[in-house]
Amino acid sequence: MRLMQLAFLNFKNNLKNYLSLVLSLSFTILIFFNFQNIIYSDSFEVLGTQNKDYIDIIVRVISFVLGCFMFFFLWYSTNVFLTKRKKEIGIYVFMGLTNQKIGKMYMIETSLIGITAFVLGIFSGIATAALFQMILLAVSDIAVEIRFQVRIEPVFITAVVYLAMYLIFVIKGYCNIVKSSVLSMISASRQNEYVRQSTPVLLLKAALGACILGGGYYLAVKEGGQEVMGNVMAAVVLVTAGVYLLFGGLIPYVFQSVARNKKILYRGQRNLWVNSMIFRMKKNYRTYAIVCVLTLCSVTALATGFAMKIRHDNMVQFENTYTFQFLSDQPDIGNQAQPLIEKYSEISYRSDIPVLFLDNVNVSNRSFAGSYAVVPYSGVMRLAEQVGLSFELKEPGMDEVIEAGHLYLLSLLTDRSDITVTINGKEYRQIQETSEPYLGYLQEQAGYYIVNDAEFEAMQPFGQSLYTSNFKISDADMFEAVRDELNVLSSNTEENYTARVAVDPKSNDTDWVKVFYTLCIFLFLVFILASGSIMFMKLYNDSFEERPRALVMKKIGIDSGTLGRSIAAELGMAYILPFAVMTVSSYFSVHALEKMMHTSLFSVRIVSVLIVFAIFFFFYLISVAAYRKNVC
């Protein structure tokens, strides 16, 4: 009973001390809950089952990542309680408590903190759920009415995941306390025998880290065909391992070298903070590495979201080049359709071009299993003028082709040189490629090559000659009416083969991409805030250890201004190191994305790095303030 009271008293006092920790714990729960809630809420059902299914898959993946992340987060935050409790253990030992009792007290106390955070997190999660979905849909540019609803499943899942993880760390802390020897905890000046790590080991780690990291960067941006996916996976593993080795090897080595060179060391406050950094390096480098990898992931996630969005918008635009397209063996199909369309809407533009579908085509470096067609150069030129598309293609020679490709959401093929196309046994060299939507939706459905007019004529016997006619209507509201009207033209008989394509300008088939984009932005912010909090907690934890040292400094006459500047420098370095490595690494990861998505992400890269910098700077400021308050 007394134990319970003591624990409760401690909890009450700690709640004030650890308010920031409780709040960040409940924030994690809030985020996790909100993502779970998306799966079970019906707000996204209006987007259609397929969209909803995609979104659910994405949210599940994100939930998994968030779960992993929550694990780390709990680890760090419970460690803070543990460090503090172990500092005070001596007092309790002299009060006559056994290790088991102290451990139990710790368990009760931390459980109370954990449950408080949970209740706070769930309630704020429920309170913000509607808001969260509203923001999500608003940023995604999707208009859906959101109803306030609370379902038990997301609460239940969040509770199970969080409480199970929390329990693990509470028990871990208990074991830690029970096993720890009282003597080692009471002794004020804990001896640290591993201040300086051996130079050869560090150099080895550094060299290995540099090689692995370099290898990872190389694989990330290496051009290739089908193996790109494997390369990217390998790059992720290598970069993560490389970052670990870099922080475990190179960075301690550099600092130790600085400490050995007294000419550099004895300047400003370096003697204090460089030594202090080295002293803690062995303990802290994993945190720096985790924060670095985490921020790298978040920047990459943001870039992916943006790239998907840009790409998606382009694709929608690509498909919507025409509203109606005909593929027919009737030469005058366009003239048959035009009056039918004009009954309902004006025509913005119309284009016609003959195409030749070929049976016997082989393309090197490509395993596109579909049909192939060729179009004449002059026809494409005329079409571009009619539609108002840009045309910057030079005329292909007799053994040359130009690929009229289409946009992919994500393409793994990054090596696009030296492609040869074999048509009916004759080899053509691909001299250029374009992704202008000359043939709109049809261009996505087959492989198209632009060939010399004479060559086009020569190929006629080898394939099926068809005519296309393409229309864009100016009144999108008339789409359905026109579509129904045009049904009469579709035919599939011996004497008349006519296929009709209708592209609904207001289709929402791919709205999941927009949601994905918004989720990426959310993830980015969550990860960055989380990295910042991890750093903050780590440094806050360190500041407890720094207290006796600060007392010594005060005693020998080092004024608090000097100490403060030293702290600012040390903490600044702790934030800059992961940031710098992340910035360099993100260059490569985003570059790899740019290649796969065929999209320039220059501004995204700059903006995301700047946002990380700003958020880190904010955390740096509060870290320094908290550290100083604790130490000075």
Binding site: S189, Q191, N192, E193, V195, R196, A259, K262, K263, I264, L265, Y266, R267, G268, Q269, R270, N271, L272, N275, S276, I278, F279, R549, V552, M553, K555, I556, G557, I558, D559, T562
Partner: protein, 255 residues
């Protein structure tokens, strides 16, 4: 003689406690320390030795009276000047060494000077010179946990001396050392004082340790009870200190 005054205390009174209950620890102390002095203060536990040393070394403030250090009244000057004074004019040695465990002995010794913005070349040079004087040249690369108590305390003395202070304050510097290490430290401190580097003001309960000083004051019940000055030799001085201690009623050991 007067121009060489490093510190001067007049009618120093120190009270502890609240309005309702005050304990007067120091009851009017007058003391002058000149630039070549080596003073040891002895006294029974709780007699206020540490309090006196803390006030002199600007760590604590007096309740009444004036404390002049390097010509400034420390009760009147601004905080900024005070920290400058502490930084440049005073060196401190503690019973528990207070070396920083994060850095090597060399860095520990150089710390105050390097923080003062002195050129690194000068820092290194002075560190080596002082380490030589205190017999620590071979231990500079070691961390505190790799050093014996005596070595640590001599290192702390080097650190106290590196800024060329006018005066060193030492509170029970041999308190945690075995007799041989204590002797070694005292020999070094005496050498420092003899060569005119700094005045030394030391608090101790060990008569043997005190016998290295030039003057020994005995503090009891917040008052200076007597002053002994060294005459011919250390051995004879030690005997006189012992006699004084016995006449005051027992030994002063341990706080």
């Amino acid at each position: 003689m007067n121009e060489n005054k490093v510190a001067e205390v007049k009618n120093l009174i120190k009270n502890y406690g609240t309005r309702d209950f005050t304990a007067t620890v120091l009851k009017g102390i007058d003391l002058t320390i000149c630039c070549n002095d080596f003073i040891a203060v002895m006294g029974p536990s709780g007699s206020g030795k540490t309090t006196l040393l803390n006030i002199l070394s600007t760590i604590d403030k007096p309740t009444h009276g004036s404390v002049m250090l390097d010509g400034h009244d420390i009760t009147k000057i601004s905080n900024q000047d005070l920290s400058k004074l502490r930084r440049d004019k005073i060196g401190l040695i503690f019973q528990d060494y207070n070396l920083l465990d994060t850095m090597t002995l060399q860095d520990n010794i150089a710390l105050p000077l390097s923080l003062n913005g002195v050129a690194s070349r000068v820092c290194m040079q002075k560190t080596e010179e002082l380490a030589g004087l205190f017999g620590l040249s071979d231990h500079l690369k070691k961390y505190p946990y790799q050093l014996s108590g005596g070595q640590k305390q001599r290192g702390a003395a080097c650190r106290a001396l590196i800024t060329d202070p006018q005066i060193i304050f030492a509170d029970e510097p041999t308190g945690a050392l075995d007799s041989r290490s204590g002797k070694e430290l005292m020999r070094c401190l005496k050498e420092v004082n003899d060569s005119g580097r700094a005045a030394i003001f030391m608090v101790t309960h060990d008569p043997y340790c005190a016998s290295y000083a030039k003057d020994v004051y005995i503090l009891s019940d917040g008052m200076m009870k007597c002053r002994l000055s060294r005459g011919s030799g250390r051995k004879e001085f030690f005997d006189r200190i012992m006699d004084a201690q016995i006449s005051m009623g027992g030994d002063f050991s341990c706080d």
